[in-house]
């Protein structure tokens, strides 16, 4: 080491005395609580007597896993981006041609069937229709209200409000990336949950599914949207009722 580097070392060592690190949290309590919480599984594994054999088994497992991953990647590359499944899942037709949000189901099935289970707003009468589109963790449940006479409608439909429930959540950092010019994003709170009021042009959303994949949820409605996630379900209220009335409806979801 040169003299110059030794002097740099000395400078760095003196700088170390002046670094202010974030306060160290009390990790001991948390670690001991976690160890105690699952005491059956929490004893350290005993020293291994068959370490070479274990290493061989592990090496084989790693090699097999690598082969499977390579095969998966090779297959996937031909058809789509690995890990990304782009899917346009939502269609609302022009008014009068009926809904294409899936099959109509009894309200009780939409509310109490397989997840995602949609919450129903207590502030409104029962919805005109309950619909289910897709299956498994890509299932979308929608409740739709037809506009009363004189009530504003979502453009191109005879609906005043659609409440949709999708399994998953939203990545806040990417929320604004899919919004076009002329669309505004306002943070709101819905029953203590963070939410967003999106007003302006139709927009698309990136949904993080429970299995870790992402899907794009495309809107065909020219309506404003209230978006929030609760208990692993993403709610989208497409509404012609305006911001405040839509927030009231959302607050009454039960």
């Amino acid at each position: 080491m040169t003299t110059g580097e030794q002097r740099i070392e000395a400078l760095l060592r003196s700088a170390a005395e002046e670094v202010t690190w974030p306060p160290t949290p009390d990790l001991r309590s948390g670690v001991l609580a976690r160890i105690a919480a699952a005491d059956g599984e929490r004893h350290p594994e005993p020293p291994s007597r068959a370490r070479p054999r274990l290493r061989l088994v592990r090496s084989l497992a790693v090699a097999l896993l690598a082969l499977l991953i390579l095969a998966g990647v090779a297959t996937a590359l031909g058809f789509r981006l690995p890990g990304v499944d782009i899917e346009r899942v939502e269609r609302l037709p022009p008014a009068g041609t009926g809904l294409e949000l899936g099959s109509a189901v009894p309200l009780a099935e939409a509310r109490d069937g397989e997840p995602p289970r949609v919450l129903v707003p207590a502030a409104l009468p029962e919805p005109a229709t309950a619909l289910v589109l897709g299956a498994g963790d890509r299932r979308i449940v929608t409740l739709a209200w037809r506009a009363s006479e004189g009530e504003p409608v979502l453009a191109g439909t005879d609906l005043s409000l659609a409440v949709m429930a999708v399994g998953g959540g939203i990545d806040e950092g990417y929320l604004s990336k899919l919004l076009g010019p002329g669309t505004t994003l306002e943070p709101v709170t819905v029953g203590g949950d963070r939410g967003w009021w999106i007003a302006g042009a139709p927009h698309d959303l990136l949904v993080l599914r429970p299995d870790g994949t992402a899907g794009v949820l495309t809107s065909r409605l020219a309506g404003d949207t209230l978006l929030f996630a609760r208990d692993g379900t993403l709610y989208r209220l497409e509404s012609a009722l305006g911001r405040d009335a839509t927030l009231e409806v959302a607050e009454s979801l039960r």
């Binding site: 740099i8 001991l32 929490r42 698309d204």
Partner: protein, 201 residues
Amino acid sequence: MTERAPDAVAADEARLVRRARDGDADAYGELVTMHQAAAFRVAYLLLGSAADGEDAAQEGLVRAYLALGRFRDGEPFRPWLLQVVGNEARNRRRARGRREGMLARAVTAFRGGTTGSGPEAETVPPERLALAGETRAEVREALATLDEGERLVVVCRYLLELSEAETAAALGIPAGTVKSRLHRGLRRLRDRLEPAVEAVS
């Protein structure tokens, strides 16, 4: 207060490790108390946020308890512990990078074009290391000119005061890589900081 001899500390530590391996959680608690600052700071450096660092350090310390059977008696404990915590933090950093990369690709694919850069997984940038004084500001700026690998090694060695073995374990790189990155980093810092060094001298 008198400082205890390193050998006595090491003997105490070895006793605590043996008790912890026999299921004595309190003994492990003592070990956590001894090393939690280093564990947290390593995780913080790798993840760039105190909250993420805390989560990763706690998870790493729980994993280390469960893996105590693999710790070899007679070896120094802290490098081994920092290796487990560093692994946990790096795994989280990779997962975060994969997830954010996946989202960026989804947006790009959807829009059929570029979206600009998504939020990348970052380590603590030098400007977040709170260093006071004019000379310290120069050190901070000089650190910012190093590439990330060199900067992590320099910060671990000199600002976090880890040994070379501990730095290698925490960062998951060979000791030889620590030496070469340190050498390159110090040389570049020297070029940058020569005037400040002269002033201190």
